[in-house]
């Protein structure tokens, strides 16, 4: 299943449930009650940022020409195919942090023990089975959606038309 994570900032209440869902998805047990007991603790890849009155869950945008992949000296970061996730191969990563510096969204970070680079992997295991990413399925208000780009742009055009007709 290919798609992008679309965010409707008007619907985000800032509950951080996407962060919890993301961390649980990246745990060994994949279950909240046991994930909080794991060592090391799993970490979330999506972060809800807040500015003025707006909340926005931010995660890797999986750029088509990803600057992080370009600057990676060991080719640990790659994007195998157009429209797919940008992934990190942990064995190749030397922890130079250059990817963190160049990411325009601040969506790449360091694991808590400073040993690994972590970022959204678009829940490739889930999406390959036709499921939506964990942050999307954990959003109680549907502020996050996982949809094909074409569908997103179509909906966007509709919205624009409605607004345009209303104001004209």
């Amino acid at each position: 299943m290919k798609g992008l994570i679309a965010v409707d900032v008007n619907k985000c209440l800032g509950c951080h449930s996407c962060e919890l869902g993301c961390a649980v998805e990246h745990s060994q047990s994949k279950h909240l009650f046991s994930a909080i007991l794991e060592k090391p603790l799993p970490q979330n890849r999506v972060i809800v940022e807040h500015c003025d009155d707006t909340n926005i869950p931010l995660q890797c945008r999986h750029c088509e020409d990803p600057p992080c992949a370009k600057v990676c000296p060991t080719q640990a970061i790659s994007k195998p195919e157009v429209g797919e996730a940008v992934l990190i191969e942990d064995e190749l990563c030397i922890g130079c942090k250059v990817c963190i510096l160049v990411c325009p969204f601040g969506s790449i970070s360091l694991s808590k023990d400073d040993k690994n680079i972590i970022k959204c992997d678009l829940c490739f295991e889930r999406t390959s089975e036709g499921q939506v990413p964990a942050c999307v399925s954990n959003c109680p208000t549907n502020a996050l959606q996982f949809i094909p780009v074409e569908q997103f742009t179509k909906e966007k055009r509709r919205e624009f038309m409605v607004d345009f007709l209303k104001s004209s």
């Binding site: 919890l20 869902g21 909240l32 909080i36 959003c139 109680p140």
Partner: protein, 637 residues
């Protein structure tokens, strides 16, 4: 909806057929709403969300990356403990509100103001008065009732000494333990308000101190439960064994079906009395079988225990009663009456009648109980139900056939009475002898609710069969007891089919001696959720007889499908009473390692009892059996 999906909602075939009917008719039920609530908030599930002050809501990141403290500086331990003890206060307020209601009725009854509530059981009145230290010599019923009611009402407000209902009904050892920990409650309302004070912004931040406060409040809850049982017995009679039928097959197409739902016998018992006199009115309106009263939840248990009113269904399946299309009125008092019932009124003719000033539901008809004229109120309500009979929608009618025999009514007095038939000098002897010789391995009290997150009754039924097979004597109350009734497990036949040889022999010997020509039912139904106090009375009598404290007895408790705050408060006093207490759903405490550790381990050192959290019913049985065996080893039996 296929069979598998249905069985994940309820294992009761009558409920399954009504869930399917609801789906076919496009009607939303509790399970649909649970699904729409997914995903539920992980912070809430872990108990690490604090909404106490308006600087919040604050959440603690359980993965330790984000915030580890709330705005005020409270950490996960403080927040989880505060939330938990507030839930205990909620449960205490509910049980003791029920008891307070009865105390007011007894008080006015003794003054001659509430003529419809005479003392039904003068013996119980005397026994309770004597236990409370009242000089009963030469006093008549009214004087004793006035005195007991006065003492009862005094138990709610601020008082200097210990709460009488808590202090006079437990072992000396328990009193010593509670005194040492500083958790002896005074007034019940004071205990609740103390929790609200200490959990207010900037008061108690020490999680262990908060949990001790929770224990104190839970003991006030126990006092309220015990008072509820005592006063209900005084006013409406102490239950003795009754035989009836249970499950939706008890509904009658040609009768005015009135469901009595909620928790208090204050109105429901009167309705039972008045309905007997109004059968002809119903027949005149075309209901050839007259009035058919059925019970739901603990109001159902109250009228089952005293009047053998058939239990219909319980807890999460309450909406399904209306979906049968033949409930002409559902009369509710308070607690566990879900607002979702009102959503069904657009599609069904059922009159939903609220009766208590503190419990109204938008969309329902409110016919408030006026205790001064209780019989008249009951009569009006029954008339409304009779009028509603004519409005049935025939195309909506579908009564599931299944019903099972159920024997209930096992008050402490009834149990001792049955045991007394074996040994009239020393009624407890046969019970104790059989525990000592191992015929009875131990005792388990099943209590508590259903929970839409657990397939209805699955844990109850799985566990009870497994424990009975292992010769554990089973007591039950509340919706758990209701579940067992619906599956025919409150019968001698169940004893013969499921009980282990030792337990079977004991139940048969007692049953034969009591003149039943067969064994006692496999499970002794002791009543509503306040009636968990009856089980304590039995355990305390056994402990005193053996000269040991409750925390040494091979007695355990289980709320395998717990849901309400009341379940949390009862669970906490069961633990405080020294019992290993199983909970079959994950309570919202895992966000604090410390709180979880205190509840499951440290309480063992403090009070002897502890929580066992296990969602798998068979594994839970293993853990309870292990706890029972350990206790037996401790007693060298």
């Amino acid at each position: 909806m296929d069979k598998k999906v249905l069985s994940q909602k309820s294992i009761d075939s009558t409920c399954q057929s009504m869930i399917k009917k609801a789906e076919d008719e496009g009607i939303e039920t509790i399970w649909d709403r649970l699904e729409k609530q997914q995903p539920q908030c992980g912070f809430g599930e872990l108990g690490v969300c604090c909404k106490i002050c308006m600087q919040g809501p604050c959440r603690i990141d359980p993965f330790k990356v984000g915030a580890q403290k709330g705005v005020c500086g409270a950490n996960a331990d403080t927040i989880v403990a505060r939330n938990l003890v507030r839930a205990i206060a909620g449960g205490t307020a509910a049980h003791s509100g029920h008891a307070k209601h009865l105390a007011h009725i007894l008080s006015k009854s003794a003054k001659g103001e509430f003529k419809d509530y005479p003392v039904k059981d003068p013996e119980k009145l005397k026994a309770v008065a004597a236990r409370l230290g009242v000089d009963i010599e030469g006093k008549n019923n009214e004087e004793l009732a006035r005195e007991v009611a006065r003492l009862a009402l005094e138990e709610f407000s601020e008082k200097e000494g210990p709460n009488l209902w808590a202090a006079t009904t437990v072992t000396k050892g328990r009193v010593d333990t509670f005194s040492k920990l500083g958790v002896v409650p005074g007034g019940i309302d004071s205990a609740i308000s103390e929790i609200m004070h200490r959990t207010h912004y900037g008061v108690d931040a020490d999680p262990v101190n908060l949990l001790l406060g929770g224990i104190k409040c839970s003991l006030a809850d126990y006092a309220g439960c015990h008072m509820g049982t005592d006063l209900a017995d005084i006013l409406f009679g102490t239950p003795q064994p009754v035989v009836t039928e249970a499950n939706m097959g008890v509904l009658k197409e040609n009768a005015v079906n009135i469901a009595l739902h909620g928790h208090n016998p204050a109105l429901s018992d009167i309705i039972v009395q008045v309905a007997a006199e109004m059968q002809d009115e119903a027949k005149n309106m075309g209901a050839s079988e007259g009035i058919n009263l059925v019970g739901m939840c603990c109001t159902g248990n109250e009228v089952l225990m005293r009047h053998k009113i058939p239990p219909l269904t319980h807890s999460v399946s309450q909406e399904l009663a209306i979906i049968t299309g033949v409930i002409d009125a559902m009369v509710v008092d308070y607690q566990c009456v879900i607002p979702g019932l009102a959503n069904l009124l657009d599609c069904y003719h059922t009159k939903l009648i609220t009766t208590m000033p503190i419990a109204k539901i938008s969309g329902a008809q409110h016919m408030e109980l006026n205790e001064e004229n209780a019989r008249e109120c009951a009569g009006d309500i029954i008339k409304t139900a009779i009028d509603s009979f004519g409005n049935r929608k025939p195309e909506k009618v579908n009564i599931p056939k299944e019903k099972n025999t159920a024997i209930a009514g096992f008050s402490t007095e009834a149990i001792l009475g049955a045991l007394g038939k074996v040994d009239s000098e020393d009624p407890l002897k046969p019970l104790i002898d059989n525990i000592v010789n191992g015929n009875i391995l131990g005792v388990c009290l099943f209590a508590g609710c259903n929970n839409a997150k657990v397939p209805q009754d699955h844990n109850f039924v799985t566990m009870v069969k497994e424990l009975a097979k292992n010769n554990v004597l089973i007591l039950a109350t509340g919706c758990g007891a209701g579940a067992f009734a619906r599956y025919g497990l409150l019968t001698p036949e169940a004893t013969l089919e499921y009980a282990g040889d030792g337990l079977k022999a004991v139940l048969t010997a007692v049953g034969e001696a009591a003149g039943l020509n067969g064994p006692l039912p496999m499970i002794l139904h002791m009543g509503s959720c306040v009636d968990n106090s009856r089980a304590v009375d039995v355990a305390v009598a056994v402990a005193n007889k053996l000269g040991v404290d409750l925390d040494k007895l091979p007695v355990v408790a289980s709320a395998p499908e717990a849901m309400t705050e009341k379940a949390i408060s009862i669970g906490t006093w069961a633990v405080s009473g020294g019992l290993p207490t199983h909970v079959g759903v994950i309570p919202p405490v895992l966000g604090s390692d410390l709180v979880a550790e205190v509840l499951t381990v440290k309480t063992k050192e403090l009070v002897g009892g502890y929580f066992i959290v296990e969602t798998d019913p068979l594994k839970a049985c293993e853990k309870l059996l292990e706890a029972i065996k350990k206790r037996r080893q401790g007693l060298n039996i």
